[in-house]
Symmetry: C2
Subunit: 339 residues, 2 copies
């Protein structure tokens, strides 16, 4: 941007003049219309490459009203989940001939969400994918009425199209694994409850406990970070407290384990810990972490499918992908230490 004026390249007309045809013919060649004789097609092609002509997207957009771009409204992109989803979206979008314009939110206020959305729409995106698993952001988005199609990720708010992993099922699988191991006092280390994901996982935990007629263990409150897991670990009652803890994500599980061990508690002998997400490192944590695997990339791909949804009628309201339990070494039968 050292240059103040963007130099303009050759236009359709320039090519046309050089090739000795009309601009429309050039346009036809560029857009691969049939009904252009082989001879002129060749002439035009030659002129195009000689001038190094490239179509002006602005003019196209203006003339056709189409931009071939999709807007991404994202919160935290530095986290494993969201950034993986983005990769999946990118992949699928490219395949479908779309571009991605990304805007991240500075906070989750209504103002910020609206501003970001407006920006995106002003830039002509043909669809919006919101990777903002934040309750308040989703509420704002849910109220937006627009002709531009929108897909939210993991909202499950019942408003409009939403693509989500079935986190409740994942949480249930986690808890049932613990139940099978004989645990009866199962605590939960929740993520920030204004995140939909945290809410879903909490719900799953609760419903699985109910199903097995178990009382609810304590719920610790974290913020997804390993540090918050560590702090929760310092607060756990080691004497008659939970024998198993289901953490809302792997990072918190990591911190939790760290604190518990520092307090002389052996994992999984004294306390079983289970995480969520299956980040690539989870297998190498100490002990290797039992967790629930989420296929974030698939989720991203689904977003594009739902958004583009050429199939028309097929209602896929609430597409859902099922997470999978991955058993490793941080969970063990209850009471190992009493044997």
């Amino acid at each position: 941007m050292t240059e103040v004026t963007t130099p303009r390249g050759p236009s359709l007309t320039d090519v046309a003049t050089l090739a000795g045809v009309s601009h429309q013919t050039v346009s036809r060649v560029v857009n691969r219309h049939p009904n252009v004789s082989e001879a002129t097609r060749r002439k035009v092609r030659a002129a195009i490459s000689e001038l190094d002509y490239r179509p002006n997207a602005a003019a196209r957009w203006l003339a056709t009203g189409r931009t071939h771009s999709i807007g991404i409204l994202a919160g935290e992109l530095a986290q494993y989940g969201p950034s993986s989803v983005l990769m999946g979206i990118q992949d699928a979008a490219r395949g479908a001939g779309y571009f991605l314009t990304v805007v991240t939110l500075k906070d989750y206020s209504e103002a910020a969400v609206n501003e970001a959305l407006t920006d995106l729409l002003n830039h002509g995106v043909e669809g919006v994918i919101a990777i903002t698993p934040h309750v308040s952001a989703l509420e704002v988005l849910g109220e937006v009425q627009g002709s531009t199609p929108m897909v939210t990720v993991g909202g499950g708010h019942g408003l409009g199209r939403d693509v989500a992993l079935d986190q409740e099922a994942g949480a249930i699988a986690a808890v049932e694994h613990l139940v099978e191991l004989g645990h009866t006092r199962i605590a939960h280390l929740a993520g920030p409850l204004d995140w939909v994901d945290a809410q879903r996982r909490l719900d799953g935990w609760r419903s699985a406990l109910g199903k097995h007629h178990l009382g609810e263990g304590p719920v610790y409150q974290g913020d997804w970070s390993a540090r918050s897991g560590y702090e929760a670990g310092l607060a756990v009652d080691l004497d008659g407290g939970p024998t198993a803890i289901f953490a809302g994500n792997d990072q918190m599980a990591l911190g939790l384990v760290k604190a518990l061990r520092e307090r002389g508690c052996r994992i999984p002998r004294d306390v079983s810990v289970i995480g969520f997400d299956d980040v690539p490192e989870a297998e190498f944590y100490e002990p290797s972490l039992t967790t629930v695997r989420q296929e974030f990339q698939d989720l991203g791909r689904s977003c594009i499918e739902v958004l583009i949804d050429r199939s028309g009628g097929v209602a896929m309201e609430g597409e859902s992908l099922r997470p999978r339990l991955v058993v490793r070494s941080s969970t063990a039968p209850v009471g190992g230490h009493r044997r």
Copy 2:
């Protein structure tokens, strides 16, 4: 995209008619030109909000040649480093009034890089930031001649503008820390060497060893993943081998530690391990990981500064930010186990 035709919104002229002024006056109001009387300004504002008018970016672009958007060419975004850089860029770009159009590479071939770059340019980006620390990608980018300004992240290839963290300095700091602890047999677990970062860290390790007249320990080869670190850990010679290992990133360090421990090796007693990056979890690894902190977000912000570079003349070729050593518990004086 269920809608085939994008319905067009109201235009400047519509607003003008409603407000009873000329379209140019509306344009002036929208663009905050001075020299518009308060009265008309109000009328126009009212008309704008009544019609819910929003400026058409395509027309603007066509008329002015400016898009206010910056293209991001990215490789892996699902990794901590790159995605953090992106967050930093986004932040600074927003502040400077720019949008981000993101394209990820499907591979690092010349064809893929060129294709992505062309796509970006066709979409009218005013500048390009390449977050592709991959040697081959940077080579391709280095050869591109274009009027569009480009900034590469972490390349340090000496071609054009490049913003980088001084990874060599970081690596040297890491090694010197080990030297101070009395280690003399210091190995390196390198990242994939076609990544510039891996190369720089290897260079730093090598030069620090040279400076202290130490022989080079073995170099293990990883791919940034914890799994590759684990595999390297299985290959380490525990008998007369290195007493300290400098890993190319935290994830590999994690896997390395895991394998070493499984083989009965105590960390840091028998072997000290140091990582790189300081991912948020590193502090909670077991043992808490000594590492070198990189400020990725700052790096992202620098990109925008360099790209926009309003300051004109000030040559900031090779902007460099210095990483910082963070000492935790995975490193200890050599020979602890012999005491």
